[in-house]
């Protein structure tokens, strides 16, 4: 059973202070992550302003069904992550473990769908370079460069999340957490929700440009 005394690191006075410091640190890290992805979003904004038609045409070749499904999967995984934190707070280790497991399974499902989608994209010659579809305007390659980098870097973040949550699940199964100490669960949750938020913006920007035409 986790003991609050054992969980308190020596540089902190008390548990709430330790939790506050850890939470603040995670938000500071997430602010750097915003700027990390921010550079890519900025490139997207600049090139889409310059080549709106090429971007719209390029976007029509994304598989919107996969993108929408993946959005639903990630939103649901955020929900189960929030429930995991809630279970930890209520000292319910059994459900904490279960919800973490569900979140991990959903994250893997996201990656599997993404993999199927990448295979489809490659089959459609949407990898920028000499083999790129000749029926698309050359600037469409800029869209697809951004697509591969942004979704790729996001997928790396999802993979890191799988590792992080697996470790949390392992610690939960060894009863490392209780209502007195569950900060790692809470800040892993912050990371996971952040990954979800990035996708919330990638989805309309990559998949939904002028779908009506």
């Amino acid at each position: 059973m986790a003991d609050a005394h054992l969980a308190l690191q020596e540089q902190f006075e008390e548990m709430p202070q330790q939790k506050e410091a850890a939470t603040l640190g995670m938000w500071a890290f997430l602010a750097t992550e915003v700027l990390f992805f921010g550079g890519l979003f900025l490139s997207y904004i600049i090139y889409r302003t310059n080549y709106p038609h090429a971007f719209a045409e390029a976007s029509h070749h994304t598989v919107v069904m996969f993108g929408t499904l993946n959005t639903a999967i990630l939103l649901t995984s955020s929900f189960t992550m929030a429930l995991a934190v809630h279970a930890a707070r209520e000292n319910n280790t059994k459900w904490l473990f279960r919800f973490l497991l569900v979140t991990i399974v959903l994250a893997l499902a996201f990656l599997a769908v993404k993999g199927l989608e990448y295979r489809e994209d490659l089959r459609e010659h949407l990898w920028p370079g000499p083999q790129f579809r000749p029926d698309l305007p050359p600037q469409a390659q800029i869209f697809w460069i951004l697509y591969w980098i942004m979704t790729g870097v996001h997928a790396v973040h999802v993979t890191v999340g799988v590792g992080l949550l697996s470790r949390m699940a392992w610690m939960a199964s060894r009863r490392k957490f209780s209502d007195a100490y569950y900060t790692p669960i809470e800040i892993s949750g912050l990371y996971w929700h952040f990954v979800d938020i990035i996708w919330i913006f990638l989805y309309p920007l990559l998949y939904l440009i002028q779908r009506y035409s």
Binding site: T23, V34, F79, A82, L83, H86, R89, H193, D196, I200
Partner: protein, 115 residues
């Protein structure tokens, strides 16, 4: 720190899925220039729900909120300053190539008339 109940989480999840359906549905309707605006507004609404409830932002102190806001504000500064360059480059180039000495091209109060 008090936080949301399971019921609230469920409600937020359903709202997020409803927003997803809405953003997908509206993308298939021609709203002219407003398609982008609507899509981004929905994304921002979804983000706000996630930050406030799932990430417990609603119950965080002012100090944490400075950190939460910092990422967004610095991103917006970066976009704003960069676009103030990129969006005006054409004007600057045009101004430079079409510029004439005022004596050759005296300024008029009513452009298009009298020159």
């Amino acid at each position: 720190m008090t936080t949301a109940s399971k019921k609230t989480y469920l409600f937020v999840w359903l709202a997020l899925l409803a927003f997803l359906a809405l953003t997908w549905g509206l993308a298939n309707v021609n709203l002219g220039p407003f398609n982008n605006v609507v899509a981004l507004c929905i994304s921002i609404a979804k983000m706000t729900l996630v930050v406030l409830v799932f990430m417990h932002g609603r119950w965080e102190k002012a100090l944490t909120w400075i950190f939460i806001a910092a990422g967004a504000i610095w991103f917006l500064i970066m976009v704003d300053l960069t676009l103030s360059d990129y969006l005006t480059r054409k004007d600057v180039t045009n101004a430079r190539t079409t510029w004439k000495h005022p004596e050759q091209n005296p300024p008029t109060l009513m452009p298009g008339k009298g020159d």
